[in-house]
Symmetry: D3
Subunit: 324 residues, 6 copies
């Protein structure tokens, strides 16, 4: 399977341990972003995964490139230029103190890149799958156009298009998200969203929300992800996949989390992997949810877990025994 | 509100992670002490909070000053001189291995300072509230006299006096604590204590212990704090406030703790803040308990949490969701 | 009590926090090994404990010697020479991601040492107890002969011999373990094993498995240890000791673990300590299990906990309160 | 002496040791900026030093405030708001590999703040001295106007105005620097510059450059600073002060540097301190140069050295002996 | 230019700062090896550089793969399997205490790999250059045959072959090195060696040693590298290149080193780059020596410096000024 | 050789890198003290070396014991009890900023221990050599008496007594040092001192100062150590030994230092080792000076260098080449 993802990659700065941002004398530095995380997971699982974006030509931009290459992501389509790499500060919460994210991504090389800089026919040559999330068009008019151009070319070529709606209200101007996502989902074959977003953006709610999502956007598969927050380190997650006219509910996981960020992206990567490898729907949603679950035990944005580990967890195998 | 607190600030040395003291090749260094922690919390919440003590003129003393200034504590009344800053070694426990504290505070600049070094009329000029804990008079005859002089001057000026009894039997000579605290509580308007201490020091116990505390010491408000220890990292806490002739029980919290130390001081700071801002008693005890709860999720002695975070927790709001 | 243990000590490399091995830019370095861990625990508890092995004459070998000396282990019988110190990489798991151990111990100085290098009469001069585990003979024909020579000399002198079967199938050639352990247990007075191993190696199972183990090998005491794995950080452990014709079940512990490795060795050390000090069987198994439990809260291989801490836990004392 | 400085404070991110930016998995985090560094030095020396700027209301902005407060800088005039705190990445060089700085400061809260947000009459109430550098007006039209308004009000009140020209060509649009600095120096009483900048911005060069600088801008004192770079860690520095119609050359220092950044700001702070305390010119330039020299031995942007240390170095005292 | 290198990559473990190996509680972990370092430098400079070796299929082997991918090295020809990745412990020296390296590489996946596992026609498809060092055949008969097969196939295809003799007497059986290197250099077009090695292995010494090396092995280019050791952190280096019948001496560098290891490999990479890009001989040797020099300022095995930095140093440009 | 040393061991707290004490958020923790350092060096060189002192029974005291055991020092004569372990804060200097030490050692377990707690006949059983420094009697009347009792018993048994005068004026009451050291040196066979101390304490100066020292105190050997301070990291050291009626000057070393502390103690250890092994005087002073020199390259108080390394340096061998 050859997957292309499009989006922004940022430098993530995290204080050590459970220190708050105001206590930080050191920051752990990793790189990540919704679509970059999907590419990293897929590359880690042995798939061809190209990440498309624009990063500055300086050393911090190179740091992002290197982080992707380290995982085996194909980076030759990454544009180089612009002024800055977006940053986000991520404070780990604990107990009743929630984790906290401060974005400092305005003016990034990607957000300011022009649609005509991307040579989609070249990028998509030989590709099977294109993935993006709702964060990309939220970054501005340019990014929206880039996403649309990519979708159009992918559709033209019959490449499967998946979209994780990933709605973050703070990133959007009031009222813009619904229209833009409506338009872009028109190109999609697979969509991941949650109940609140389906309702807020598309007015779709109720027991038949998932089939209606699928119908509205002519989707081959649609998934709702669920997350219940007990406290900063304990979440319960599960998901429902609608495919072939039926709904499939994944296993549920009560998790004690090491790193909350990237959990949804691991789900998306897992779903792409499973659908791309033609897993039956139940197995597909279980694989995707297991990928999401186990990602929460790994520091950083990326799901650095093997297919074997995920399969074993998805199959309900005993977990947690020391392997030695 | 202008708050003055009096006491000792120490250097706290903690091994990394869950290492034991005998394993330590590095110590995390923070500064703290019961009354300093109260001042830091109040300053962090935007109040004027002056901390009064004496620290050596050398760099370690300066480190303590800087830690307080970093939080916005008013440090201009800190005396400089003497030989040493007290130290305490704090080992984090885990599971059934309790946390362990070793004090090395004898002979500190504060404990050896003389009552006449403190210019209380100057210090209290414009102040609304004076706070100290039972640790201060426990440090010796000098410290007892300093505390008493402060109490007298505060009372003379009609400044509200609060005292957290904070009884640590190891710090007191046999039998001295009851008399001294009896005397000092005579100046207090607000008192924080727990059931065991009320019984051991003042012979007050039973269902009406709180009202009797209030009556015995003519208190405007008295609070009992409760802590049940499940294991080194899991505690259950709540409190009861007696004010205006009635008892108000706070919400209860079952906590998974990051840092146990300073939890009681955050309660005291919260109560001062709430009473000073004329919160109704139920809201006051809920604010104080929420401050205490959330402090346990923050490394170090200080409650580096905002009023908004505490209000949100006290109001029973959903907690733990990533803020992004 | 004078205890001698024989086995391999390795360098253990662990990524910081919950990082995976592929994320490691730093490794925490400690030294450990089943029998070395037993010696370290006993020395830490004030007993004479000599560790016998062979380590390279270079600085990494010296690092192992120093780690043992730091705990008070007698190291004068350690042979110096050979090419390498065995290594194991240990990745901490979390939640449903299991901990992972990669051994890199082939060709170690100990595994390649010759039986005639060990002067057992000299080593055992004045000793009361000899302990080894099934890992030692698993390391090869040489190590098996060394273990057998030690057992023979110990038996000849009437020294108590204990063996923790510690069966790791990966270390043994197919089918070799049963015969070798059968032979070596012939010298043993005390044996620690678990149900699966008793069945797989000796065909002993069922309700009377423990008495049959004791009978088969003429043991003074035999113990079954139990471990149920909830997830990577939560285990439930207990044990049953058979001694004097009766079975004694220890308290059970549900643990939140800091470091899983060395938990079984702490049990062995605890049992040796308790039996050597002539504890009654119930008290002995409770002490051993408490030692095992509390070890899981300490980073590294060694049980750096005091007899007082273990006694207090075994006695069911309140645990987890800050000691100050 | 009461000093007010105006400018931008940034988050500085530095890889550990001599790691390059592309190798960084951790960044040391400190806060600094030319005028903030001057304020920190003066506050550290016991002077009243207020820093005026605008920082975001979020936790990273608060981190900057706390770093200043920690040194005793007066922060009550700091505006809060805007989106981001500027960042700079600083890579330590070694041997022939130069140190490298990447600025990511566009769009900062300060650069986008409006002149009318600053209440100069209030800020300057009681002040003796106002200091800024050429970096401030370089940040854009807004910052230029803010600087000019401050200069005007300072001049109106007879407050001494000092300016460190600090010309960084990358920050300025082509050709703008000369005119702007010409205008702002019109308000200055004291100016620090180097030979290249005097020539490039003002066309002043030759043996009498310093007196001509003083004459052109009606300065009470003007200083040229010199730096010769041997390699990334070895520099030679000295300076010449023109005051009262004569030139005074400082001692020269060949330095092995720990942290190159902030060396010029320490000179400025030292000169302000010395002139403010009415040191004779030779003593003044020696003090300023010693402050600069010793700063290079301290990590971070701030000159965390005492007046005593600087005086001792300036006086040519033996240096480097362990003080014990 | 498409370069293929063949050799072993190891895990390098280094204590922090100037700690000795026996003091290490943490090891910095990087990956490196003579030929891997050459590939990393070339990939870093934008060239296609494939590294050929065999590493275990486990996570430590993956760590080596990831380190190479991070730099852009082509890793698809890396065989996976075998038991262990070689290790070397590297202690940084200081002043008169020399740096110390302990190898623990016996039995590595590469050393035990079989010649027939390598598909040279496939690997060399499209390649221009093949590089190896004398360390590879030193690792044993297998590795020698692998190197010879590679040389043969490269020669057959007219691919340029370069060899860095890199003689380490400890790695070779007595007397074997001369014959083996004699044979392998028969395939070489470019050779790097030093005076001592030329004399010891080939009996070539004297003023005309370089031309005689070239003649003996029909080399297009031969280089002698020189290193004078003042102390553990200060070395003086230069080199002489013989090409086209003349000798070209590089600039000399007196260095204060951050990391000694990989300096020679940076020279080799620089020479390959320069000759491959058809630099004139003087420029080529200056580029190679500058690459070597600047590498010594970077932690780790790899020369993470840009072509621009190296060109600038080689051109004698001012060095060490902060770039901002 | 069996050596006994007597003195205080402290916890040393050092900020990371070149951070100043006021910047420290972490302290490196090692243990050391003049006489403990001598014992550690000798044990490291394979000699029996017992350290006699008193440390608290708590975990920090145990940390000191463990640090000594790690090096092989005999710790069974260490008394346990008292309240605190002395501390010293050590800030590394750089360039012209001197290193800084703050002692916090008053009230230590050793300083408050009673002479009758030490069973010298038992301690000295089988010993050949007793060493102490002038720091011990400086710690107070108790410590002086302990030192004198030790000297008396050593003299009675014909054990060689060595004393490093190690005069620190801050530790002594005015005028007390001369008399006390005069008395104690009456027991000494070997004395180490420097010119200033000889003059200040004993009025001995001039060209024949060393012979006069030897004569005055009937010494078998007397040494003057010299240290010239260029800056915080560069010192020049050498020494002169008077023995058998002649003076022997050691090699001189210009050092770039990693850790200044313990350099003098390494000299003392080296001299004891050399004289105890009956080295000729020139070889003895060269060995001692080389031990001192190489210690400066090792972090911490202890001279963790081998006899081979020292002999090689003393013999003027090439130094600094990587050993691989």
């Amino acid at each position: 399977m050859k997957v292309v993802t499009l989006g922004e990659i940022m430098l993530r700065l995290t204080p050590h341990g459970y220190n708050r941002l105001v206590q930080a004398d050191d920051f752990e530095a990793v790189y990540g972003g919704a679509e970059a995380n999907v590419a990293a997971a897929l590359a880690n699982w042995g798939e061809y995964a190209a990440f498309v974006s624009k990063v500055p030509a300086h050393e911090i931009g190179q740091g992002a490139v290197n982080a992707l290459r380290r995982c085996g992501v194909e980076t030759r389509f990454l544009l180089r230029g612009g002024e800055r790499l977006g940053i986000y500060y991520a404070e780990r919460g604990a107990d009743r103190r929630a984790s906290n994210v401060i974005y400092d991504r305005a003016g990034s090389a990607f957000a300011l890149s022009a649609p005509e800089e991307y040579d989609w026919p070249h990028i998509f040559d030989g590709a099977d799958w294109f993935h993006f999330t709702g964060i990309t068009p939220a970054l501005g008019k340019n990014a929206e156009k880039i996403a649309e151009a990519a979708c159009r070319e992918a559709a033209r070529r019959g490449i499967t298009v998946s979209c994780d709606v990933n709605y973050r209200s703070k990133l959007w101007e009031e009222g813009r998200a619904g229209n833009v996502m409506e338009k872009l989902l028109g190109y999609a074959d697979v969509c991941i969203v949650n109940e609140n977003q389906a309702k807020e953006l598309f007015g779709i709610e109720g027991e038949d929300a998932l089939p209606r999502m699928a119908e509205r956007f002519s989707l081959r598969a649609a998934a709702f992800t669920y997350r219940r927050t007990e406290d900063a380190l304990h979440n319960r997650i599960w998901s429902v996949l609608y495919a072939g006219g039926a709904e499939y509910t994944s296993r549920k996981y009560e998790m004690e989390m090491v790193d909350r960020i990237g959990g949804g992206d691991a789900f998306a990567a897992g779903l792409i992997y499973a659908l791309g490898h033609r897993y039956a729907p139940q197995k597909a949603v279980d694989f995707a949810e297991a990928a999401s679950c186990i990602k929460h035990s790994v520091p950083g944005d990326f799901c650095l877990c093997s297919v074997e580990e995920i399969e074993s967890l998805a199959a309900g195998g005993a977990c947690g025994r020391v392997s030695r």
